[in-house]
């Protein structure tokens, strides 16, 4: 979130991150089965109950 922002709010893009640990975490997750998280399911249900969203 704020990792790419200076104190004055200037945005400094970092398009390529050379980080073996981060790369490995992503690559390993590619082989895992994807299950919807209960927390995300709760969030979606709550959103649907309380809001009608028009996204442009």
């Amino acid at each position: 979130m704020v990792a790419l922002l200076k104190d004055d709010g200037e945005f400094v893009p970092t398009l390529v991150v050379r980080d073996p640990k981060a790369f490995k975490a992503l690559a390993e997750s590619m082989d895992k089965k994807k299950e919807p998280s209960p927390g995300l399911k709760r969030m979606l249900t709550e959103n649907k109950k309380r809001f009608v969203v028009r996204s442009k």
């Binding site: 922002l5 390529v16 073996p20 979606l44 009608v52």
Partner: protein, 185 residues
């Protein structure tokens, strides 16, 4: 639409009034007030704002750009990962709720919209995950509850005493599965 539901419009940043936006995080407020429009118009990132359907006050916003993760230049010439040179992701630069106008729950609405937009992007441009840095530990735990995974990256290791940096990711396939399930019910 039931009376108790709030109608929210989420749209690309345009001529919206941003001068009094306040989410309480100084760097984000400064960015949004002073630099957001230039950054959006230059396509350095894209910014989406939320408002009530019949009002102009901003309730919150989020911003997306791209971030690619590559191997380091040394130790990880590892055969296991030789099939990839790099892994592209969509990066949630920031997300914020206006403390005055933003209703409780608008952060979740913005996050869901960001998820949906990421899935739309990946239909046209390859992207594996959504990545972000949580602003503090409380937020990081909230994101973990949603299904984000912590990276424990080199950056994290170097700055683990600095609570402003917490790198996380969420596979877009997992997000797609949850949204499909939610839309079907």
């Amino acid at each position: 639409m039931p009376e108790s539901q709030l109608e929210i419009v989420i749209e690309p940043l345009g001529d919206h009034v941003r001068g009094d936006f306040c989410c309480g995080e100084k760097r984000i407020d400064n960015f949004f007030r002073n630099n957001a429009r230039n950054s959006h118009d230059a396509y350095a990132q894209r910014i989406f704002v939320a408002r009530y359907g019949d009002k102009t006050e901003l309730l919150g916003f989020y911003a997306l750009t791209l971030m690619t993760f590559a191997l380091g230049m040394n130790e990880e010439a590892d055969a296991k990962f030789g099939r990839f040179n790099s892994i592209p992701t969509i990066y949630l630069t920031m997300i914020g709720r206006d403390q005055t106008h933003g209703p409780k729950g608008i952060g979740s609405v913005l996050m869901e919209d960001a998820f949906r937009r990421c899935l739309s992007v990946r239909n046209n441009v390859g992207a594996y995950a959504l990545t972000l840095h949580a602003v503090n530990e409380r937020v990081a735990q909230r994101y973990e509850d949603l299904g984000f995974t912590r990276f424990h990256t080199e950056l994290h290791d170097r700055q683990q005493k600095d609570e402003t940096h917490r790198a996380m990711f969420y596979e877009l396939n997992a997000i797609a599965a949850a949204l499909a399930e939610g839309d079907a019910t």
